[in-house]
């Protein structure tokens, strides 16, 4: 699957300059698996955390004899509790994402996949587990998972005109990243985010738009069709619609931002005309941020 391989190679290129992304690990007992994340508290792990005086009930084998030999009391060495974080991605593969206004510019879908892969690579490099939301690809760590991810998000299959987020199979208190143009019906988005918030999942929404979708530079008698052709709208004067279209677009963005604020997520709008690195930087910050 050369397409997937290319995608991964590009993702590697983009991820190269950034330090390993360490997702903020929340207190999350259920999804604990030993990993590279210090939880800033004593627990299971490899890294030294602290010595504490031996307490009644500590087994004799837990006593650190080297440390205890230097003083009169007995000490027990505690390790830092380390746990890996699960991050779930949803990358919209709807037909609307295939749009680009200029051949020299990537489609929204290409940009979305690229960013998703870059983030995945950073996460995997940081020891996190990455997977897709839904039941297709549960989170795992390791470079092989990157290959599976690349293959999975490159698979367009027969997609609807507008995508809806997949909120099934999300582990409680994990983190999530939704990448889409969010042009379709907003109700599934609201439902998915509400459901995710109910489970304590935090994450980021990345809206990817083409510059033409922001500018609406049309005029004259026009029939607009969705990418799949299922939705159409005819107008006699496209120029007159511009202001109202832009109002609606702004309203959609505001709705997404409000929704994100209410559920404790992060929202960002990215244009395919901009550099992908800026969006990745934002994602880096959003997934790293401690709430």
């Amino acid at each position: 699957m050369s397409h997937a391989a290319d995608l991964r190679a590009h993702g590697e290129t983009l991820a190269g300059p950034l330090p390993a992304l360490l997702a903020d690990a929340q207190h999350l007992a259920q999804s604990v698996v030993l990993g590279a994340h210090g939880r800033r508290r004593a627990g299971m792990g490899d890294e030294f955390w602290q010595y504490r005086p031996a307490m009644p009930g500590d087994e004799a084998r837990m006593i650190d004899w080297r440390r205890s030999g230097r003083s009169d009391a007995h000490f027990v060495q505690e390790k830092e509790w380390q746990a890996a974080q699960s991050v779930l991605l949803w990358v919209d593969n709807a037909r609307s994402m295939e749009f680009t206004s200029d051949k020299a510019r990537p489609t929204k879908a290409a940009r979305a996949r690229l960013l998703a892969m870059a983030v995945s690579i950073l996460l995997v490099r940081g020891g996190e587990r990455v997977g897709l939301s839904g039941l297709g690809l549960p989170p795992r760590s390791g470079p092989v998972q990157l290959l599976r991810l690349a293959a999975a998000i490159s698979d367009t299959g027969d997609a609807p005109d507008f995508g809806a987020p997949e909120a099934r199979g999300m582990l409680p208190r994990s983190r999530a990243l939704f990448v889409s143009d969010f042009m379709g019906d907003p109700a599934p988005v609201t439902a998915a985010l509400t459901k995710a918030a109910d489970r304590g999942i935090k994450g980021a929404i990345l809206q990817i738009l083409d510059p033409q979708e922001e500018a609406f530079p049309f005029d004259g008698r026009t029939i607009f069709e969705s990418m799949g052709g299922s939705v159409r709208h005819e107008t006699l004067k496209a120029g007159d619609l511009r202001d109202r279209y832009l109002e609606r677009l702004a309203a959609r963005k505001a709705m997404l931002a409000d929704l994100a604020r209410a559920t404790g997520w992060q929202y960002h709008c990215h244009h395919t005309g901009q550099s992908a690195a800026s969006a990745l930087l934002w994602l880096f910050g959003a997934l790293e941020r401690d709430h």
């Binding site: 609307s96 994402m97 749009f99 200029d102 929204k108 507008f162 143009d181 042009m183 379709g184 019906d185 083409d210 033409q212 979708e213 609406f216 530079p217 049309f218 005029d219 004259g220 008698r221 026009t222 029939i223 607009f224 069709e225 969705s226 990418m227 939705v231 159409r232 709208h233 005819e234 107008t235 006699l236 004067k237 496209a238 120029g239 007159d240 619609l241 109202r244 279209y245 609606r248 677009l249 959609r252």
Partner: protein, 919 residues
């Protein structure tokens, strides 16, 4: 014709169509522009939005105006508008257009044809039939009246002739015309005595109009040779103001290319119709001139071809008795000098000296023997076309030359002693000459009765004597014999060149015979008697425009006819070739005078310049098309389809309408710019695609290595086609050898040798260093020998250990590629290369070695693919990678050597310099 504001319309009823324009306006307003289908994901946000203005977009008024104007232009265009309409009453009945069609017409032939076209156009509008006749090419039978359009199509095939009108035929033709017609006569402007009767013939049939060009008629008379200079004479028809024309002489230069050899201004004084010019030219230049012409006049009359009359033969006179104290009249060459001096350049001197001057003719008067060296030189000179003319005399008669065997410098064998007839001590009368036979070059010359021969040398009766005899005495003994040798000939007069043995040198026949033998050149136009009995064929002919054309195969004409010929269809002007001579027949002869026509007052005479009717139909239809094109653009723009790439396409489309001023870059330019903007390595295209790809990949790998490690930063390598591409752009060529590549052509080898001589380097790689040693044991090696055979390759030697290649960048002693053979050969060091004390290296040759030959398959070792990965394994393991590294280092050294020459060689002086600086 309906006329409105100075513009006439041929089909005015069509203008009623303009009434329909307002209806069109309303229709166009009602129809909205077609919608565009657009894929747009944001459509989901548009759902439910309705247009504020329910009425569709109206076509804006200016677009409507544009379209209306376009339609109006179409309607008016088809109504047939004519600017400057000719309001004369249309003639009726057939119209005859007569052109003279002579050489004098040629000077402004296109304008005449255009004028005829105008007349035919007018006739076509009036629905008249027409006929076009040139008087030099009279039609047979009735006048060919046809539809004027049919004649208009045949106009381009009319050409002027290089001769004048045959007056008698023209008069007879004009008098034989029947029917009534109007005549338009385009005269060439020269007065001829047949004009009046022909005009009378036309006038009996109907009205006659005459058109004449105001441009002066100029003609050039044949060049003559007078007083050591070329006399040129030009004529003009109308005496007027002072006028200067340029006359140029053209001919073949020593390289065989025709070019202008001389040019001089020729000035007509005010009121004169004739201008003279004396042009003095060196003989070498003069003999090369083939024609004179008046510059800037395109007419056969302005060209005068030159023939032998202008050429002056160089004749060397050598006699055997110069030292004798005697009367001038007894000198053996006196009569020859008298006969030849007016028409030839005479050379005196010894035989050695005159042979150096390469004369046309060498005359040996009573010279018996020549030295062996002279004989050889003479034979060679005759072989190349020289004419050796010998005269007998006492010495020749007394010698043994050509007695038993035929001497190469004698046409026949001679009997001892000769004979004497009619003298005091002999019987018989002096012999007269017999009439010349028809195979003789003298055939046709009359023999005067007073030419007698008293003494002569006798030819041995050999089998070929009869065919070599070209003149004989009345009793049949040969008088003149001739033998052809190579391209030249040897001619022997069996009498002396003075009057001792015969009276021949005293007669006019002697001069004529010399002329026929092309010893002398004729002074002027030959008379019928001079040319009697000869046959001439046209070699080159002049067309009406004064261009020289090959005559093709035409029947020969009699010399007598040629002497009296005037230019006509049977004897077109041109250059006629006879046996050894060429005669030019020119349009203008010495006695031609030109005078302007005078027409009776009743005949209207117009110049060529008239106000033309201009048809506006085409212009209006173009305007309509342009408006419609604009309409397309405007509609696209209104509909919002004119964006991005389409705008560029439209701009390009518009640019097509703008005249292209700049010169586009040719592919050669692009190639040159690509190859010279940076250093570029190049490889030769062998025709084997896989091999060429490896070569390109290898050079790419080497280029990358150079880029990374050195200050040489080459671009992508270029494949060079030896047959088509310029090589001098490349400092270095890599040439992989494969047994089946084609050999380059001779031109390619020429370029390759220039390339090697001027500092280029070719790396030959036989790629078989693993199996074959150097020296042609393998198929590749044999192919290399074939390839290099035509190359200018210096002596070679294996790379010596102190060669500059070993240290131009890296210090190397091995030059491996994928194979590790030691056989790498470069230009050998000069044998006197000295080793200086204390220096580790010899002072070697100063140049870059032009070739490096080896078989280590370097390209494969250097090759990288587009991702930068090595394409071929070298050796095994670490040792193999080390070998590849050395191969790359060899490449770096090689390119450094190519680009810096022996710069590193000079570094051997560094210790000495440091020492001198006191370090």
């Amino acid at each position: 014709m309906f006329t409105f504001a100075g513009i006439g319309f041929t089909a005015p009823w069509l203008l009623l169509g303009l009434i329909a324009l307002p209806i069109l306006w309303l229709l166009l307003r009602a129809v909205p522009p077609a919608p565009i289908r657009r894929r747009f994901p944001g459509v989901a946000l548009l759902l439910g939005l309705s247009d504020e203005d329910q009425q569709s977009d109206k076509t804006p008024w200016w677009l409507l105006l544009l379209r209306t104007l376009a339609v109006a232009a179409v309607i008016i265009g088809f109504a047939g508008p004519v600017l400057n309409p000719d309001d004369r009453v249309p003639g009726s009945g057939p119209m005859l257009v007569v052109m003279d069609g002579t050489w004098a017409d040629a000077r402004d032939w296109p304008r005449r044809v255009a004028r005829v076209g105008e007349a035919l156009e007018a006739a076509a509008r009036d629905g008249r039939t027409a006929a076009v006749v040139t008087l030099t090419d009279l039609p047979e039978g009735d006048l060919p009246f046809q539809a004027a359009e049919a004649w208009a199509q045949r106009l381009p095939s009319l050409v002027p002739r290089a001769w004048g009108v045959d007056g008698d035929a023209a008069v007879e033709w004009a008098e034989g015309l029947s029917g009534a017609f109007e005549t338009l006569w385009l005269s060439d402007g020269l007065e001829q005595d047949w004009r009046a009767p022909v005009l009378a013939g036309f006038e009996t049939r109907g009205a006659v109009r005459v058109f004449e060009s105001p441009r002066p008629v100029l003609a050039l008379a044949p060049a003559r040779f007078e007083d050591g200079a070329i006399a040129l004479s030009a004529r003009r028809a109308t005496p007027g103001q002072e006028q200067t024309v340029e006359v140029s002489g053209r001919g073949l230069d020593p390289n065989g290319v025709e070019r202008e050899l001389a040019r001089a201004p020729l000035t007509f004084a005010a009121g004169e119709t004739q201008a003279e010019l004396a042009l003095s030219l060196p003989p070498e230049l003069r003999n090369r001139i083939t024609r004179f012409q008046i510059e800037g006049v395109r007419s056969a009359g302005a060209v005068s071809l030159t023939d032998d009359g202008l050429k002056r033969r160089e004749v060397a006179l050598i006699s055997g008795r110069d030292d004798r104290e005697a009367l001038q009249l007894l000198s053996p060459t006196h009569y020859l000098q008298q006969a030849l001096a007016p028409t030839a350049d005479l050379i005196d001197g010894s035989l050695d000296d005159v042979l150096l001057a390469n004369p046309d003719v060498i005359v040996l008067a009573d010279v018996a023997t020549v030295t062996e060296a002279e004989s050889t030189a003479l034979t060679e000179w005759i072989d190349q076309g020289g004419l050796l003319l010998r005269f007998a005399g006492p010495r020749l008669a007394a010698s043994d030359i050509s007695r038993d065997a035929e001497d190469p410098l004698m046409p026949v064998r001679l009997r001892a002693g000769g004979r004497s007839v009619g003298g005091a001590m002999s019987w018989g009368e002096p012999k007269a000459l017999r009439r010349f036979g028809d195979t003789s070059p003298f055939f046709g010359l009359t023999v005067p009765g007073d030419v007698t021969v008293n003494a002569q040398v006798m030819a041995q009766p050999d089998p070929n004597l009869a065919e070599r005899t070209i003149a004989s005495l009345a009793d049949g003994t040969p008088l003149v014999t001739r033998k052809r040798v190579g391209q030249g000939q040897v001619v022997l007069f069996h009498v002396t060149a003075n009057a001792e043995w015969s009276t021949l040198p005293l007669s006019g026949l002697f001069v004529q015979m010399l002329e026929r033998l092309a010893v002398s050149t004729r002074p002027a136009r030959p008379s019928a008697q001079d040319l009697a009995g000869t046959t001439w064929t046209a070699d080159m002919v002049l067309n009406g425009f004064g261009q020289v054309e090959d005559a093709g195969t035409v029947p020969g004409i009699k010399g007598e006819a040629l002497a009296a010929a005037v230019p006509s269809p049977a004897t077109p002007p041109g250059l006629y070739a006879g046996e050894d001579r060429r005669i030019a027949l020119n349009v203008i002869s010495d006695d031609t005078t030109l005078s302007a026509t005078t027409w009776p007052a009743r005949i209207p005479v117009e110049g060529l310049a008239v106000t033309r009717e201009t048809l506006l139909k085409g212009a209006l239809l173009s305007l309509a098309l342009g408006l419609l094109a604009l309409d397309v653009l405007a509609s696209l723009w209104l509909a919002g389809r004119l964006r991005g790439a389409r705008t560029v396409a439209v701009a390009l489309g518009l640019a097509l309408f703008i005249p292209q001023g700049g010169e586009a870059q040719t592919p050669e330019d692009t190639f040159a710019i690509e190859a010279t903007s940076e250093v570029v390595l190049a490889h030769v295209i062998t025709g084997d695609t896989a091999l060429d790809d490896i070569a390109a990949a290898g050079l790419r790998g080497l280029s990358e290595t150079l880029f990374n490690r050195t200050s040489i930063e080459p671009l992508e390598p270029i494949a060079v086609n030896l047959e088509t591409d310029e090589l001098s752009f490349f400092p270095f060529l890599y040439w992989p050898v494969t047994p089946d590549q084609p050999l380059p052509s001779q031109e390619a080898y020429g370029r390759l040798n220039t390339y090697l001589r001027t500092g280029g380097m070719i790396l030959f790689d036989t790629r078989d260093g693993d199996v074959a040693g150097f020296g042609g044991g393998s198929p590749n090696g044999r192919k290399l020998q074939q390839l290099a055979r035509a190359l200018d390759v210096p002596p070679l030697e294996p790379v010596p250990s102190d060669h500059v290649l070993t240290r131009t960048f890296y210090l190397l002693q091995d030059f491996p590629g994928r194979h590790n053979s030691r056989d790498v050969w470069v230009e050998a060091a000069p044998p006197d290369a000295q080793s200086v004390d204390g220096m580790p290296f010899r002072n070697l040759n100063d140049n870059v070695t032009p070739v490096v030959i080896g078989g280590n398959d370097w390209a494969a070792a250097w090759a990288v693919d587009m991702r930068g990965n090595r394409m071929f394994p070298v050796g095994r393991g670490f040792a193999g990678e080390r070998q590849r590294e050395i191969a790359l280092r060899f490449g770096v050294n090689l390119i450094m050597h190519v680009l810096t020459g022996n710069y590193k060689s000079d570094q051997v002086h560094v210790p000495a310099l440091l020492d001198r600086l006191g370090q």
